[in-house]
């Protein structure tokens, strides 16, 4: 076995182990993180979908940071529930 092959063998082992042990965990963590992100945007930018939470002077300061998430957030918040909710 050459050096190269050895390396990729360990690399594969590592990935398999990660897949078996922690992939689910990190997927779950990422999902929770995403829900929190959406909750965060709701609290700060609620006005956008007609839920005024607090005066927006300082919310505007946060706006630039959430620009990319706004459309997914709106879609998620305003859509109706369906089967795929349980899957993703």
């Amino acid at each position: 076995m050459s050096e190269e092959e050895k390396k990729s063998f360990w690399q594969n082992m590592k990935e398999i182990l990660y897949g078996m042990a922690s992939h689910d965990m990190s997927r779950y963590a990422l999902r929770t993180r995403a829900s929190m992100e959406h909750l965060f945007i709701l609290i700060t930018m609620g006005d956008m979908i007609g839920i005024p939470i607090l005066p927006p002077y300082y919310s505007l300061r946060l706006l630039p940071y959430v620009v990319p998430q706004i459309s997914t957030w709106k879609r998620r918040l305003l859509r109706e529930k369906d089967v795929s909710d349980a899957m993703f």
Binding site: S26, Y57, S59, S71
Partner: protein, 324 residues
């Protein structure tokens, strides 16, 4: 206790405010106090955040939205243009979005939000108080005389600041939790350090701004708040209510200044019943003022022959309030 003595005994009180119902003489007293302090050799900035500000009128100089304008030696005056401030702020946000994502123009829904947000009534108060932080934090002047907006607004802001503070605490906590999840994921995936959360940094900045602006109003050491009253029933009732509310928010009240007192000497002359009745009415309420506020009454200012505009009248008023 006279006004002069109050200022001499508390040189550390550098944020001076005159508050009260509209039209009782807040701006006039602010200008006269600023004039007197400037003459004592202190560097003074008198500023106003009222959209219907009258500092321009009293100094007979258009200073609206022009930054600090020098009136005389040691004395500067400034009127904040809230609209202008909000517009500049909006542009700053737009520019930031363009810079961060390399957009050619701000996306439609974001633009709509920016515009809708600025139409909210609370926007103006927040913008105003934020602008005040900039002015006061600069610290270039010995005294800041704050020609306050009518009482309601200040109270509204103080309560807003409290709610804001709690709100920020909550979302900061949420944000920190989010951060933990992020770190967990990157540990699981054996990635390097996660990026610094800019939103968290921004939240902390917002909190310091809010605290700074409400502490200008409530700083026990540096702030002095005077109520302007006139000897009339409605004013006294309202002021008593406001004073109670202000006390709840820990605004340090330094005293009460009674304005528009009709000179008693007139009684020795042959004056019409109309004037006599007014004097009698004022006597009644002056008595009430004495029993309610007692030692806290810092000055009585007579009803003057003409309105106070221009430096000459301001000087005369300053002499009445602080002595020659």
């Amino acid at each position: 206790m006279t006004l002069k003595k109050i200022f001499e005994e508390h040189p550390e009180r550098r944020y001076i405010m005159f508050g009260g119902k509209g039209g009782l003489g807040k701006t006039t007293f602010s200008a006269a106090t600023a004039y007197w302090l400037a003459q004592q050799g202190k560097k003074v900035l008198v500023f106003s955040v009222d959209p219907q500000a009258s500092l321009s009128d009293i100094f007979q100089k258009d200073i609206f939205g022009k930054g600090p304008v020098k009136i005389m030696d040691n004395l500067w005056a400034q009127e904040i243009d809230a609209d202008q401030h909000i517009k500049a702020y909006q542009n700053e946000i737009r520019q930031k979005i363009l810079d961060m994502y390399g957009f050619e123009s701000v996306p439609d829904e974001i633009e709509q939000y920016i515009q809708a947000a600025s139409a909210e009534p609370a926007m103006e108060e927040s913008a105003i108080f934020d602008a005040v932080v900039d002015i006061v934090v600069g610290g270039e002047y010995d005294y800041y005389i704050y020609d306050l907006v009518p009482l309601g607004h200040a109270l509204y802001y103080l309560s807003m600041a409290k709610v804001y503070d709690e709100w920020i605490n909550k979302i900061t906590k949420l944000r920190e939790e989010m951060r933990e999840y992020e770190e967990m994921v990157s540990r699981l995936k054996r990635e390097k350090e996660t990026e610094e959360d800019q939103i968290l940094t921004e939240l902390q900045y917002i909190r310091t701004r809010i605290n700074a602006s409400s502490s200008i109003l409530t700083d026990k050491e540096k702030t002095g708040f005077f109520f302007v009253i006139i000897p009339e029933e409605m004013i006294l009732i309202d002021t008593a209510k406001a004073a109670e509310l202000f006390a709840k928010f820990d605004v340090p009240i330094m005293g009460y200044v009674v304005n528009r007192v009709v000179p008693r000497e007139l009684l020795q002359q042959n004056i019409p019943a109309y004037l006599k009745n007014r004097i009698e009415m004022q006597d009644k309420y002056l008595g009430q003022i004495k029993t309610t506020f007692g030692q806290q009454v810092a000055a009585h200012v007579p009803e003057l022959e003409r309105d106070v505009t221009g430096l000459d009248m301001i000087r005369q008023l300053a002499e009445i309030m602080y002595g020659k």
